[in-house]
């Protein structure tokens, strides 16, 4: 669409020149004295005027150049081969696993993997400094764990020499920051680095260090996506991991629903990499010191251990002796053991009762489950209203509206919901209810009280249908039921046993632990993909804004053309 105006201007220019008279005009005061024998030249369209006019060709050329400039501007920027240079992006792994001690059997005995990484970094900077003096070198050092952060950058040889010292400062941060590893971020960073500048939007073309190489210093084996960059051979995956034995706590779990936890048993999963020690022992003790229990660990026969806890509270689990990776040997958990749920069943059908592991009572119930009868009054205790149930149907239900982040819809497949027929409720009769899931007739399939109501209540289509042969109906009815029970029983929802360190809370404290998956895997190691010494200068493609050059040429030609027009006036046409 942008080209149309320029094309129209070109056509207009041609027409203008066709219209140009093939004579020069003079305005003279003596015009009336001239003989009247000749007629004025006509101003008809003349091809001759067009083809013999130098200004026409100049102006047409300017238009064509302007058109070309516009096309170049809309196209990705062209690339020109730059001078040989080295621009290195160094991604240094600072995740928790980098604190793993190297095996005693190697020369790196006593060092952590991070310190080994610094050695590699020193080799890399030494190699860069050994390159020719007149070579332009720039280095950007970034760290990564769960995020990628800039550490420093260097553009001179002296600055490059300080890189290792600056990176070694990060070693101290392991006392305050123990995080996992997100290699997806690394992959994204590398892909973006290797995108040719010509394929980047103009606004995103970096004006800083033009990267020609990426070096990743990590203890993780090179992922499959590294092969994407094999052709370019400019990605150095420098692995500092050495195989070492380690044992640790993998995870701690508890049985039961998040709102119906009544089990006192927790399950501890242990992990072992390499040769485990024979004298391992798992100790769990309450933080208040009132209870403690320990068991020897048999690594060959058993990896999960279950403990029955005496009461709610915080417990600390310790695996001894510690492995070479220290951050998976201890975890603190918080356990909230609920009393058995007391339910008042206000309907004969009590399907779903086994799911609740509840005690049926008439007084003092924690939850009442009663049929929905057109209208509800705000109840005094958490209440679940049950509709007419689910029916298999060829017509199904067409959904129109749902609350995307509602916990009442957790784990629900809305596509399977449309396969069932559900009698929705008319919310016009119940203004206190909010629709969570609504069909195309405007009837609510699932509705709930406002979440800030003093006592929560919800309406669902039916109880879990244990009698159906339709797996979809069975699953859907059960999940909707349990979601609704947990939602109305908001006070019984328990917190996770523990959480993992994060950017917001990078250091383990309380129930925040460092049991990041795979961080303790000290056996999964790989070799470096490329030797540092193979890093050589390359001629990087630099974006070349051809549109700008053409635009300048257009401006120059226009200026010359206008100058000629001013100088020669009417003769310049």
């Amino acid at each position: 669409m942008i080209l149309l105006p320029i094309a129209a201007l070109m056509v207009g220019l041609i027409f203008l020149y066709l219209r140009y008279p093939n004579y020069r005009e003079f305005e003279l005061s003596t015009a009336e004295f001239f003989p009247k024998t000749t007629k004025p030249p006509a101003t008809t369209l003349r091809l001759r005027t067009l083809f013999l006019s130098l200004p026409f060709y100049v102006q047409l050329f300017v238009f064509i150049l302007a058109l070309a400039a516009l096309i170049f501007w809309l196209s990705p920027p062209q690339a020109a081969e730059g001078v040989p240079s080295v621009g290195v992006l160094i991604l240094l792994d600072t995740s928790a696993s980098m604190t793993t001690l190297q095996p005693m059997t190697t020369a790196n005995n006593g060092k952590t993997r991070f310190m080994q990484g610094l050695t590699l970094l020193r080799e890399l900077t030494d190699h860069l400094n050994s390159l020719p003096e007149d070579l332009h070198i720039c280095v950007v050092l970034e760290r990564f764990d769960l995020v990628i952060e800039l550490v420093t950058s260097a553009e001179t040889r002296s600055e490059i020499n300080t890189l290792v010292d600056q990176a070694s400062q990060l070693n101290r941060q392991f006392e305050q920051r123990i995080l996992g590893t997100d290699l997806n971020l690394v992959a994204q960073r590398i892909r973006r680095t290797f995108v040719p500048p010509t394929q980047l939007p103009v606004s995103e073309v970096s004006t800083g260090c033009q990267f020609t190489h990426v070096a990743v210093i990590t203890d993780r084996p090179s992922p499959d996506w590294v092969s994407e960059f094999e052709e370019s051979a400019h990605l150095f995956w420098l692995n500092v991991g050495e195989s070492v034995d380690n044992t640790g706590i993998g995870s701690v779990t508890v049985e039961g629903s998040k709102c119906l936890q009544t089990d006192r048993n927790i399950s501890i999963s242990l992990v072992s990499y390499g040769t485990p020690p024979s004298n391992s022992e798992l100790i769990i003790s309450s933080n208040d010191g009132s209870w403690s229990e320990s068991r020897p660990v048999n690594w060959i026969q058993q990896s999960e251990y279950t403990f029955e806890l005496p009461a709610s509270g915080e417990y600390t689990i310790v695996l001894t002796p510690p492995g070479n990776y220290l951050h998976d040997d201890q975890v603190t958990i918080a356990v909230n053991i609920q009393n058995q749920l007391q339910v008042y069943w206000g309907m004969i059908n009590q399907d779903g009762a086994p799911l609740l592991n509840a005690q049926s009572v008439t007084d003092g119930a924690d939850l009442q489950i009663i049929p929905y009868s057109r209208q509800v009054d705000p109840p005094s205790i958490p209440t679940l209203y049950i509709g007419n149930g689910y029916q298999s149907s060829t017509t199904g239900t067409v959904l129109q509206y749902f609350v995307e982040d509602s916990p009442l819809l957790d784990e629900i497949n809305l596509d399977s919901t449309e396969l069932l027929h559900v009698d929705g409720i008319n919310l016009d009769l119940d203004p206190s209810l909010n629709a969570i899931l609504m069909d195309s007739n405007g009837r609510a399939l699932i509705a709930a009280s406002p979440s800030h109501a003093p006592v929560r209540y919800a309406v669902i289509p039916g109880l879990p249908n244990f009698g159906t042969t339709d797996l979809n109906e069975f699953r859907l009815s059960s999940v909707v039921f349990l979601n609704a029970v947990c939602w109305v029983l908001e006070n019984r929802i328990i917190s996770p046993l523990y959480t993992l360190t994060s950017i917001e809370q990078p250091f383990p404290i309380g129930t925040v632990s460092t049991l990041h998956p795979d961080e303790g895997d000290t056996q999964s190691i790989g070799a470096s993909t490329t030797a540092i010494q193979t890093l050589q200068p390359v001629r990087a493609e630099v974006p070349y804004p051809l549109w700008l050059a053409v635009t300048m040429l257009v401006a120059l030609l226009m200026g010359v053309e206008r100058l000629l027009a001013v100088t020669f006036r009417s003769r310049w046409r």
Partner: protein
């Protein structure tokens, strides 16, 4: 848009050049066309309308009269006196006075009108110093237009007057010819300066509507009233002829001439044709002006200003103006003390 007077210092330069000495607060001390009231007798002259009847020497008239006593034979005594000069400048604002036009900068028009404005400006500046009267009169116009732009009070409203006169070109017809306005301002013994290119249309059929005829008659009448008539012919033919000649040299295939009429001339390899046309045109112009050039006498000068071919810029025009003005003896004589 017209350019201002290019060089205000030129007035001083001009004064020095003509060795002029001014006398503030005194009446003009220069060329006198009117008898004075002093007792210094100068000579006799024949009576002309407008003479003060009190100066008629009845006795001499009576003794010298031949047979009858026609008024032409009255004898008037002349006295030596210095009197204030009245200069009436009739400015032609007809269509052709707007040429030549500077196409490279149309807003700045170095035209005959521009030169005329500068002439008026300069004469007015001088007259202001000598405390003479200057009246600017529009020779053509839809209404009568004449104003004092210089009097004993100094120059007043000249630019405004000129802007009004030159705002729009006027068609030259006998109806727009404003000669009657002169009756009240062109006093006997005044100096009447006519600024024009003299391209007045002719009408052979009816002398009463022929502009040339009407103007020639008025000039004759002015002369009878002892007015000094100065014809300044602002002639751009040389300039315009140069344009055409350049066109021929630059291999222009044809020229289109527009102005008061529009016509085209093929030029391609037809140099002779173009030369003939130019010669024929030049003859037509000379014929048109012939009667005016014949008026030229030592006391009623015809002053031709030929605009040069090099009139390409404002600077060129200003240089031409100052040189041409300095070279001409008529106005210098007019303002010279001893004249």
């Amino acid at each position: 848009m017209f350019a201002p007077f290019p060089d205000d210092f030129f007035v001083d330069t001009y004064f020095n050049a003509i060795n002029r000495q001014t006398y503030p607060l005194s009446i003009g001390g220069h060329l006198h066309r009117k008898q004075g009231d002093s007792l210094d007798f100068l000579d006799y002259k024949l009576y002309t309308p407008g003479d003060d009847i009190r100066h008629i020497d009845w006795r001499v008239s009576l003794t010298r009269r031949p047979i009858a006593l026609p008024t032409e034979q009255w004898i008037v005594r002349r006295y030596e006196a210095e009197e204030q000069l009245r200069i009436v400048i009739s400015m032609d604002t007809g269509n052709t006075m707007g040429y030549p036009r500077l196409k490279s900068n149309p807003r700045l028009c170095i035209s005959k009108l521009q030169i005329a404005r500068w002439i008026i400006h300069l004469i007015t500046s001088i007259a202001t110093r000598t405390r003479d009267q200057v009246i600017v009169h529009g020779l053509f116009g839809n209404t009568f237009s004449a104003e004092f732009v210089s009097s004993r009070g100094g120059a007043v409203g000249l630019s405004t007057m000129l802007d009004q006169l030159t705002m729009t070109p006027i068609m030259r017809t006998h109806e727009t010819l404003q000669l009657r306005a002169l009756d009240s301002i062109l006093k006997p013994a005044a100096i009447w300066i006519i600024l024009s290119d003299l391209y007045f249309p002719t009408s052979n059929n009816d002398p009463s509507t022929d502009i040339q005829e009407l103007l020639l008659n008025r000039i004759a009448e002015a002369k009878r009233n002892r007015c000094l008539v100065v014809l300044i012919d602002l002639n751009a033919w040389n300039y315009e002829r140069g344009l055409l000649t350049d066109a021929i040299k630059s291999k222009t295939r044809a020229v289109r001439i527009s102005g008061m009429s529009t016509l085209g001339i093929p030029v391609d390899n037809k140099l002779d044709l173009m030369s003939n046309i130019i010669a024929e045109t030049e003859t037509s112009i000379e014929q048109r002006k012939y009667q005016f050039t014949q008026l030229s006498t030592s006391y009623n000068p015809y002053w031709q200003w030929d605009l040069p071919q090099e009139l390409g810029t404002l600077h060129d025009a200003a240089a031409f103006f100052k040189t041409r003005f300095s070279q001409d003896p008529i106005l210098a004589e007019l303002f010279r003390k001893d004249s």
